[in-house]
Each structure stands twice: as C-alpha cells, then as structure tokens.
Amino acid sequence: MTTPMVLAEGVRKSFGKLEVLKGIDLAVQPGEVCCLLGPSGSGKSTFLRCINHLEQINRGRLYVDGELVGYRQQGGRLYEQREHETAAKRAHIGMVFQRFNLFPHMTALGNVIEAPVRVLKQSKAEAVASGHTLLERVGLADKLNAYPAQLSGGQQQRVAIARALAMKPKLMLFDEPTSALDPELVGEVLDVMRGLAKDGMTMVVVTHEMGFARDVGDTVVFMDDGVVVEQGDPKQVIDNPQHPRTKAFLGKVL
C-alpha cells in the first residue's frame, strides 16, 4: 500500500468560536486529482490552506506524504515545528491562489525564478533556463519580461502556476484558481491544469467548475458546513448525487 499524498484524520479548525472544519477525514493518493466542491463557507478553502500550514489545525492529524503537517512527533509527544521546518515542507507543495498573488514588482520570469534561487539555492542561470521552459509550457514564452500589471488575469494565473511548478512540487493546491477570471479566460487556465493532471501531478483543487471536476477529477469531495458530505467518482457524485445537501447544491449550480 502506498503512502497517501494527503491524509486527514478528524481535522478540526476554529476561528475564535466559529468552528469551520468539524472533523475532516480524507485521503488523496499520489497522482490523484481531487476536486473539493461545496457552497462558500463550507470550509473547503480553509481545509486546503491547512494542508500547507497557512492555517493551523486545532484537532486531528494531517499528513502530507506521510509527514505530519505543522508538528514533529518525537517519543509520543508533539512538538510545534520551527519556522524553517515549516518553510522547508511548504517548498515541496505548490499553491495557486484565487487572486493570483503574483509579486507585482517582478517580471513574469522574476516571479518564477525567485523561490528556486532564494529557497532551493539554484544558480540563477539554471533557474532562468527552467523558468523559460515553464513559461513556455503555460503558453507565455513571449511574456517573460512583462510585469503582472501588463498581463491579463488568465495570463497572470498561468504565471502563478509556472511559479509554483518551478519548485518541482510533489503536490499542487489550487484555491478557486478561476473564480477571479472573466469567463472567456477560464478556459486557458483550466487547459494548463488539465495538462498537469495528464502528466500525473497530484492535485487538490477547490473549484466551482463542475465540468472540470467531472472531466479531470479522479475523485470529488463535496463539503458542506465543515464536514465531508459525499465523496467518490466524479460522474457518480455530480450526475447522481445521493445526499440531499449535495443534490440541493448541484441543483443550484448546474
């Protein structure tokens, strides 16, 4: 049996008195594309952010590639992880945000090579060479020296994907990557993500794109009010939902 890339056991998370995650159990296998669906406020983005420790969980256990997230277990005790340990683990997990979050003071290429040079200590020449390849892969070979403000939303999001890929991640997290885009720009980003899935990347995708979830997802997980309501094969869950809450949600969005 292989180690799951992501394993959540009874994960709970509260913001003050508001409990956002109420016990999530979930496993994502290597090479799997897992799409998280659900109404806004259901906790799917929070769960995604817990995976790379941008949010700290309050209860349960969360593992990435067999390693505990945010803590170190030693002699039956949990130790809070030091900052550089957290950073080192995050370096292998790519994340793509809804609002792109490109560094506006750097060019497209500058965005892509920043972390490989500063974190992975790659030589500049090496980082630039692989940066060229990555930007070519997302169809932006002619925009290397453009600043984010000079790019469309779809182009910015593709640079953001290239930036995450430059760290050679073993897992990619997508937080509603197309929600801030004009409808005609959604396709170009989804195409890049399709390509990634085809190349065998392990992906956890929070999305409202039902078509993408059905065609590209290996599993879909439907969340509502901080719990997993239903999960399984995308076609089955999306076309033939069993739980009334899934039915109600899909009835509204499809």
Binding site: N52, L54, E83, H84, A87, A88, K89, R90, A91, H92, I93, G94, M95, F97, R99, N101, L102, F103, P104, H105, M106, E114, A115, R118, V119, Y147, P148, A149, Q150, A160, R163, A164, M167
Partner: protein, 297 residues
C-alpha cells in the same frame, strides 16, 4: 446641409469657446500684488551686494557642506532605526513590541531641540562612557558636536521613519506574504524580497519629505554647537553686521539643496513604481528631448 454652425457631425466642430473673464481679473489682481512686493524689496534697505559677495565664499561653502553632511548622515541613521523599530513593533515578542512603541513614543513626544541639547550635555549625566571590560572613554571628548547632532537628529528622525515604514509594510497585501510563504520562503526572506520592496512605493514619498525637512531642521544642530550653514552666516553677520543679506545667503543655499533633492526624489519614486503602472510616464527630460527630436520616442 452643412452650414458650419449646425453640421451633421462629419465636419470638425467650430464653436466659440467660453470666455473666462474671472480668470483675467484674478490674474491682473495677483500680478499687481506681486509687483508691489517686488518694489518693496527693491526699495528696502538691504545690501544685496553683500549676499552676492558671500554666496560662494569658502566659509559659507564649508557650512553648506556641513549641513549636507549632517542631514544625509542623520537621515540614513533615521531610516535604519525606523526600519528596525517598525519591524520590532510588528514582532510577536511583547518585549520587542513594547520597546519599539516606547522609542517612538518618547522621541516623537519630546521636542527635537530638547533632545539635541540633551545629547550635547550627555557628559553632565554620564561623565564616562563604557562597555564593561571592553571599552571606556571620556564623554566630553567622545561626544563631539557632530556626533551629538547626528544622534539628536538621527534618533529623532528614526521615530518618525518607524511610523512611515510601518504604514508602508501595512500597505502590502497579505496575499503577498501568503504567496511567498507558500513557496517556502522564511519570514525574513519574505520581508526583504517581497514586502519591503513593495512597501518602498508608499515609504519613499514621505521619506523624501522627511529629508527635505531634515535639511532645514539640521539648523537646530547649532544647539549642539555644530557649525552648519545657518550658524556660519550668523557668525559672519556678527562680524559684518549685515544680518539680512547673510540670512539671504543661507536661504538661497537651503532652496538650492531642497530643489536638487526634490528632483532626486522624483527619479527614485519612478524607480520604485515599476510594476505598479503599465507604462512609466516620461520624465521631464525625456519630454524635452521628444520636443527637440520629434518622431523619435
């Protein structure tokens, strides 16, 4: 069809522009006041020749140099302290945060002149300075007028800079920090490579302002017996009894310095505006060039 006055929209519009009579009246009135003011100064009992005689004299130029020297040094010290204090105030460590807060509270809350006098008279409180076991010295010989002025102006400036830097850091979207952390960058690296460069756009304009202020408030360093340009011309006036023309000498030099640095600030702001706008506007120099050589942009 087209009779000029009421065309169909194909012909260029020919219309009589609105006449702004009020502007004409206002301009004439203000010009009259300016003329009166000029006349008053021309007829006043001021020996302008003295201003000219001393403007480039060696002793005045040395004073100007000292003003520039102390202003640059104190501003640099202020920027450094400001960044440190701003970062301290953001720290999760309550001691760090408290000390940062106290620094700003004290040095922003007491007059600069008082602080300068205090630094100059440090020997009255601490006759000797020492780092136990390593170094010790007599306060009076260590704290020269220059050092007293530097500490007074720079530490005071740091308190103001701390607030400017804090506002700058606060202006950077939190998504930027998240993105760099998600890439595995540590807090220090994030601050240095991602947050501060973006905060610069917000920090630089008020810092330029602060520096221009510093050029002028450096004249208070006279309280620490530091000889900058204002003290120089006052000393000269004590000898030649031409106070007003000598004050003009200092005023002209202050204006020269502040004008030169305003231009420098313009180019610095342009440099840090990269990425904030799609295309940088032309500099005045580029606009002049374009006017001389049309067709080349």
């Amino acid at each position: 069809m087209t009779d000029g006055a009421a065309g169909t929209g194909v012909d260029p519009i020919v219309a009589i522009p609105v006449r702004h009579w009020g502007r004409w009246v206002g301009a004439v009135g203000v010009l009259a006041l300016v003329a009166l003011l000029v006349r008053a100064f021309v007829q006043a009992d001021i020996h302008y020749g003295v201003t000219g005689d001393y403007l480039f004299s060696h002793v005045v130029l040395v004073g100007v140099w000292h003003t520039l020297e102390i202003s640059v040094a104190a501003q640099l010290l202020g920027v450094g302290l400001g960044v440190v204090a701003a970062v301290m105030r953001q720290s999760k460590n309550p001691v760090m945060g408290g000390v940062g807060w106290f620094y700003v509270w004290f040095f922003r809350g007491t007059p600069l002149l008082l602080q300068l006098i205090l630094w100059y008279n440090l020997a009255a409180i601490f006759p000797t300075l020492s780092i136990p076991g390593l170094w010790h010295a007599d306060t009076n010989t260590t704290i020269t007028p220059f050092l007293a002025a530097l500490l007074g102006l720079g530490i005071n400036e740091g308190a103001y800079m701390a607030e400017i830097v804090r506002a700058g850091i606060g202006s950077v979207d939190s998504g930027q920090t998240e993105a760099s952390q998600a890439l595995g960058m540590t807090q220090g690296l994030t601050l240095r490579r991602i947050v501060l460069p973006q905060a610069m756009r917000v920090i630089i304009p008020p810092t330029g302002n602060e520096f221009i202020n510093m050029l002028k408030s450096s004249s208070l360093a006279t309280a620490a017996q530091f000889t900058e340009v204002l003290r120089t011309v006052q000393t000269l006036a004590g000898q030649n009894l031409e106070l007003i023309p000598m004050l003009f000498v200092a005023a002209i030099w202050y204006l020269v310095l502040t004008s030169v640095f305003s231009v420098g600030q313009y180019y610095l702001e342009r440099r840090f505006a990269r990425g904030a706008q799609r295309e940088l506007p032309a500099t005045p120099f580029q606009r002049v060039l374009r006017g001389i050589r049309p067709g080349r942009t």
